[in-house]
Amino acid sequence: MAKPEVGLNPTSAPVHGPGAAAATEQRIFVASQWQLMWWRFRKHKVAVASAFVVIGFYLAVLGADFLAYADPNASEAQRSLMPPQRVYWFDGGRFGPYVHAFKGARDPQTFKRVYRADPSEKIPIRFFAEGFEYRFLGLIPMTRHLIGVDGGRDAAKTIFLLGTDVQGRDLWSRLMYGTRISLIIGLVGVTMSLALGVVLGGFSGFYGGSADTLIQRVIEILRSIPTIPLWMGLAAALPRDWSVLQIYFAITIIISLLGWTELARVVRGRFLALREEDFVVSARLVGCSQMRTIFVHMVPSFMSHIIAATTLALPAMIVSETSLSFLGLGLRPPAISWGVLLQQAQNVQTVAISPWLMLPAVPVIIAVMAFNFLGDGLRDAADPYGR
């Protein structure tokens, strides 16, 4: 420690003490709002990990075709309800994953198909193998997949990483496509919820008065009704003859109607809080129009809160679609989503024999957890000047 001078002038910049604090403060002072948010977010290790998981999911959405190796709709009764194949990673000491071929036979007593691995026939797993044709991003025709087998174009010879369902369709490939659809519906649904929520919540919060009271009452009414029966009813009422796409769209609308109340509350709360802030009042006094005040001055202040609330609302959307489809009221085959995949697992007897049918539950749980953690992290970081 430096020897202090007698009496008057405080020494400059000790390692601890007032000097050091001032330097850090200076750095915080000049950082932008987004930088601050990023720094705070970074401290939440779990939230950062979740962010990676979420990015991973959406990469899977883009590359679902690439990640799948079998046509998700190719059914083959001979391969019904095959259990997942065991992957052997080393072939004679070298890295070379392979599986054994399966021979299926019908058990003469139970009439159920029974599968036995045939150790004599090894089917090596190839990376970036050729498989069925698809269009990457809907534009580029490709036949390469992440994994596959030789002669992969022939749909009969393939591997079954996660087994097959009752119609003999490969579960892994279906899972990839299901991930894509479920996550897209979640995203679109939450966007619609957000739009509804922002408009109504903003109106409510910014203008106040009778519009506010009315919207508030509507929200309260909606919150006190058990929603699932209502939406089941709406979903069931969709005409059977609608195309897959139309149903897709309708289901998205239905689930977005579930979540907007929460977002509206957040938006309204923020507007109410901000309305009294000095910078908003001064914007009006300076002569900004209402539109300008809202969009240029107020919205950036609560943007981070909205992002956090939206991220937290996504899991509800995903679970809603999954549950509706699980019951058979949401998306219907040939559409594939996590809920449609889980429909096969409705029955405990079925599941007891073929437990791999429950595997689509795993990405649901991971996605819900990841979005929740991410949203929590964002919400904590969204208040850069808070504790």
Binding site: V6, P10, H16, G17, P18
Partner: protein, 349 residues
Amino acid sequence: MVGRSVVTGPGTPPPRETLLSVRDLKTYFPQDEGTVKAVDGVSFDLYPGGTLGIVGESGCGKSVTARSILGIVDRPGRITGGEIRFRRRAAAGAADPVVDLAKLAPNGLEMRAIRGAEIALVFQEPMSSFSPVHTVGSQIVEAIMLHQQISRRQAREKTIEILRRVGVSSPEQRVDQLSNQLSGGLRQRAMIAMALSCHPTLLIADEPTTALDVTTQTQILELLRQLQREDGMAIMLITHDLGVIAEMASDVAVMYLGRVVEQATVDQIFHAPRHPYTRALLRSIPRMRSRSRERLTPIAGAVPHPYDRPSGCPFHPRCPDFMPGRCDKEEPTLRPVGDKHAVSCFLYP
């Protein structure tokens, strides 16, 4: 009877009449980043009816000392060493009237019988020191009934009486009010009433007036003095305000970074301070008679970070009389330098 406390150093057995004698008290807070030695060897004596002022900057350990005496140190802090010898009331019926509070289980029967009944606490936050959802009266009644065997109705009457005694107007109505219906000054009076409700022998007042405006401050201090005269209880007054010390205390202990650096009577502290810290404190008080535009004299440097305690004497980095080689290597201890005056500094070997 206003007794004078005779200040002694550590190692000396307390004279027979002390009410409270603290010897080498240590209270540490183990944290992930290191151990904070909030109280690191504090000793003082308190006599029945006397007023001991404990003065020091924020963070010097005054409040933790008070909490240690009462056994309500926040987790993870614990008393790790030293003695707190307290003389209990004869009527308490304990075999040995002197008990070491540091050895008692904080949540045990004996400590809780002492807490509130024989040692009471009044502290800084009048705004939030009462529960917002219970009436003021019910909280005082609870204190009374906890320690005295009387009926609820009698307790309520006593509550009204004591509220009246501390100067709360219309006590019969106030008893049923919530604390947010009272002003800051009234709340502090109610706190004092609650503390006094069981006639403690020692009242610990931890910054009782810091959050009040100056007029109310004076009234509260006057109230404390009056109650002390009437009941003969001892007061341990903790504050950073030297003016309050001058008005109230008969003896003073100056603390810095968890240690007592000087103890003396109030006259000695103000007119003949020995320790460099005490002197710096007194120098830094703005003077009424100073010429205008005269600079204030702050103490050089800043209070060290709790994890970064200086070696040797804790004050040496800021001390104008720093002696290199000694002050940064060895720790000074409290030694008598005169009648009722002790200092912990190598200037006075």
